[in-house]
């Protein structure tokens, strides 16, 4: 595993390796890298002096594909970036193209989108929690988290037939009406989930091993977050009360009450607390939304041929992992001239080096977990 002679591992602006420094290669095939991430760690004994990420193993040229597909044809591809939060990807893309077309989805579609997206946020956070805890040594939460996530995936499956890469939304609204017991299913899940969250809290929040492994580990303060572009729960855990759903509401978020949880230290424990609270808030949003889903059409005034007028748009949403943005340029044809995806995982991962300097090798695993990256989105 250790690879002491890998000279190219030194960043070009770094000085030559000191005699007592060691390069340790982690990944790309390592269970705790959450995919195919390779990290070259520069070590001084057990202490990490620097980390260089080697990424791109899952690069599929998503942005190039976009230029060679029609707007609709490209929609399913976005599900395959952050594949544990496919619905969020789809929401961002559909809304971006809708803005480019200057149309809006009907309110009923927006509300159903909001419910599904919030369920997706919970599902995404459950994957994060389960694997993050597993990485640190707590085996049980994984099973609990996947048990609840299964209920969400069942709702997705009932809604659109797919569980993971759902392609649930269409440009202009929805293809499918909510099924008959949709509200009931969501309500049942949400009612149950309150108790379930308490189970995770009982397992972890006061657990001294958990606290020992996460408190003051991977600290990133607010100024560094903003400088490095780290957003989402990472930014909020550093004390910045900012959420795109509030700052620039999209979908139907302006209709619902919810809180933006924040932390104080910006460490791994705070990020844990923030994401736990986000799940509770998402649950509340879902409960508010199912109370009154407006009647009406679910598809806006969008033709079968999507041909936006020449121009460009940038639209971003608060995905479970941070700001997910789409910059779309139209040349007036049926295919986008350029689609740029601002992937939260990619940009958040850049903070890894700063977050683990001075920590132990074992903490690297905790910090990769707390960044909540999905390599499908990092590499695109």
């Amino acid at each position: 595993m250790a690879d002491t002679v890998d000279q190219d591992a030194t960043h070009s602006n770094d000085t030559l390796l000191g005699a007592d420094e060691l390069i340790l290669n982690m990944g790309p095939q390592h269970p705790s890298t959450h995919g195919v991430l390779r990290v070259k760690l520069k070590l001084d004994g057990e202490r990490v002096r620097g980390a260089e990420c080697v990424i791109g193993y899952l690069h599929r040229g998503v942005e190039k594909i976009a230029e060679n597909r029609t707007y609709q044809q490209f929609a399913p591809y976005v599900d395959r970036m952050d594949y544990v939060a496919a619905i969020s990807n789809g929401l961002g893309y559909c809304e971006a193209v809708e803005k480019l077309l200057n149309v809006e989805a009907p309110i009923r579609a927006k509300v159903i989108r909001t419910i599904l997206t919030e369920l997706q946020r919970i599902a995404s956070h459950l994957v994060w929690l389960g694997t993050h805890a597993l990485d640190i040594g707590a085996l049980t939460p994984l099973f609990y988290c996947f048990r609840e996530r299964e209920e969400i995936l069942k709702i997705f499956e009932k809604y659109c037939g797919a569980r993971l890469t759902t392609h649930a939304f269409r440009i202009g609204g929805l293809q499918y009406e909510a099924y008959d017991d949709f509200e009931k299913d969501v309500e049942r899940f949400c009612k149950d989930f309150e108790r379930r969250i308490q189970e995770y809290v009982d397992l972890l929040t006061g657990n001294s091993i958990w606290i020992g492994r996460t408190r003051n580990v991977g600290v990133l303060n607010a100024a560094d977050c903003i400088a490095l572009g780290a957003t989402g729960p990472i930014l909020r855990a550093a004390g910045v009360k900012w959420d795109l759903r509030k700052a620039q509401p999209y979908a139907a978020y302006d209709r619902y009450q919810f809180e933006i949880p924040t932390g104080t230290n910006g460490d791994t424990y705070d990020r844990y607390m923030v994401r736990m609270e986000e799940m509770r808030q998402s649950r509340l949003i879902c409960l508010q939304a199912i109370e009154n889903i407006p009647e009406g059409p679910i598809f806006g005034k969008v033709g079968k041929v999507i041909k936006p007028a020449p121009g460009e748009i940038y639209h971003s949403i608060e995905a479970p992992k941070g700001i997910l943005g789409y910059y779309v340029v139209s040349d007036g044809t049926v295919q986008p001239y350029r689609v740029r995806i601002r992937p939260p995982s990619f940009i958040n991962l850049q903070a890894l080096d700063k977050m683990i300097r001075g920590h132990l090798v074992a903490d690297v695993v905790a910090v990769i977990g707390t960044l909540d990256i999905v390599l499908g989105e990092v590499d695109r």
Binding site: K64, I226, G229, G311
Partner: protein, 218 residues
């Protein structure tokens, strides 16, 4: 400066061609860059809509113009979103001013668009967000193919990886970047895939053969 502002207008008129040349299934095989902009596929639509890009003149733009004068080549609004077209020579100063004086503290995204027929082949697109003011602004920086724009790593550290990705995908080299190398593609790869003349089925065959031991990755 009148002709300097042209690049910003041109996209709308030239951008139709690369795709119009070969629609749907056939991949856009390297469009002959010299071809005249003959057919206008955008035209067939019955009612030609009014241009969505309208000149922008608000306090923010006036402050930028007062400070940088001719380096602000254009200021436009497109679908309620604002952008400035700025001269690449003054990019670091404009970027620093944006962050420090106008409080655009987050470089939300940094990317490029290729316009192979234009004099200045690429547009760099910097999407700025201001936490204090909750507004976004796009900077559009036209650059020539052989130009080396200044790196923004000193101003927004997040542009480190973003500039590496632009280099990887478009071949644009940033002057002063601390470690400019490929990020998504392998180091030895030849070609920059998001350039418009890079076909979707194209690959670095030699690299694939040597490193993967197969004839084609397709």
């Amino acid at each position: 400066m009148a002709d300097e502002s042209k690049p910003s207008q041109e996209p709308e008129s030239t951008q139709a061609e690369p795709k119009g040349a070969s629609p749907a299934p056939a991949p856009k095989s390297a469009p002959t860059p010299a071809a005249p902009p003959a057919p206008k596929p955008g035209a067939p639509s019955p009612k030609a809509p009014a241009p969505l890009q309208i000149p922008l003149d608000n306090d923010l733009v006036r402050r930028y113009r007062a400070r940088f004068g001719a380096a602000i080549l254009d200021a436009l609004e497109d679908r309620k979103q604002h952008y400035l077209v700025v001269d690449s020579a003054q990019l670091p100063e404009i970027a620093r001013y944006s962050r420090e004086d106008e409080k655009f503290d987050l470089l939300e995204d940094y990317t490029a668009v290729d316009w192979p027929r234009r004099d200045k082949r690429f547009d760099l697109i910097a999407i700025l967000y201001s936490f204090p003011n909750n507004i976004r602004l796009r900077l559009k920086i036209p650059i020539a193919a052989n130009e080396h724009p200044s790196s923004l790593v000193d101003i927004w550290p997040t542009s480190d990886w973003l500039e590496r990705e632009i280099f990887d995908m478009f071949g644009i080299e940033f002057a002063g970047h601390p470690g400019l190398k490929r990020i998504l593609l392998p180091d030895g790869w030849q070609g920059h895939p998001l350039q418009k003349d890079y076909d979707i089925l194209q690959q670095d065959t030699a690299w694939v053969r040597e490193n993967l031991g197969i004839d084609s990755g397709q």
